[in-house]
Amino acid sequence: MGLLLHSNLPLAAAAEGEGIGWNIFFYTGLTIAVVLGFAALARKGLNARVYTSLPSRLAEHLYLFLEGMTVNVIGPQGKKYVPFLLALWSFIFVGNIMGLLLAATPTADWSLNISMAIITVVYVQYEGIKQNGVLGHIKHFAGPRLGGAMVIISGLIFVVEIVSECMKLVSLSLRLYGNIEGGHIVRTSLDSIIAGIPIGGILLPIKFFTCIIQAFVWTILTCTYLSIATSHGDEGEHHEAHGDHEQHPAVIAAHA
């Protein structure tokens, strides 16, 4: 119980001189090194006529998986976002896996998560502005075009959308932080029931599953945000004309 009694939240922990602290630079660097090393290994196998090296084949499957998801959510024009999503996925996945093998993990620290969330949200805004122009991007915050006195409703929608845009930062970062750090706390408290016997090890399979799901969730949410921000270009009318706009996953996210 002693482990649970002091706060593990990074901000509170930093005030007390605890938490992952300066080690986060080491673990983040290690994560980046692993991701880049894997990418270099995978790239080496690309010269072959048929991909025979294991890293190349794994990378190919990962790419195809993410590309399928992106095309499913955004549409065929979303293929250009796959490199960004792949970078996010691999960084979050490797960072999460580090928590299973090593003492600490960078993704269990809120500061890294909020910085990744800022990068994601700013990139989405950038893509939206690139697609629709500054005015078009601001206009899409006001929702559908309503005539007459309904302008007030549009203003309200605008305020709500701005707030929800800012909440994306909080929700993205807290989701990853809560899932990873929560798993660590449950494991350490299970370990401390009987001294010397790591009972918490039984949680490792489900924690591994959580690592994959969280990396996937971050990328699919980025996909959804991208599809909302960029959908009001040429494809917007096309979707509405076919009436499949209601089933679009982006719509669920917009209402959530």
């Binding site: 009694l5 002091h6 706060s7 807290l174 809560g178 899932n179 969730v217 996953p249």
Partner: protein, 74 residues
């Protein structure tokens, strides 16, 4: 001090109960939809995952709140 500890336990427990029921309902709907229309499974799967993720956020907010409160116990 004890009341804070009891409060954290109650908050996380009740949030877990509610979110468990909610996620169960969402998964129920999604899986039924997938079983009835396997050709739409991919789209339903994505939408269901998104719904689950947003439901889970409610629990995580309670979890972080519990964390913040835990700092007050000394």
């Amino acid at each position: 001090m004890e009341s804070i500890a009891v409060g954290i336990g109650l908050a996380v427990g009740i949030a877990g109960l509610g979110v468990g029921i909610g996620q169960g309902l969402a998964a129920n709907g999604g899986l039924q939809g997938m079983a009835r229309q396997p050709e739409a499974a991919k789209q339903i799967n994505n939408s269901m995952l998104l719904a689950l993720v947003f439901l889970e956020l409610v629990f995580l907010l309670t979890f972080v709140l519990g964390f913040l409160l835990m700092g007050k116990i000394h």
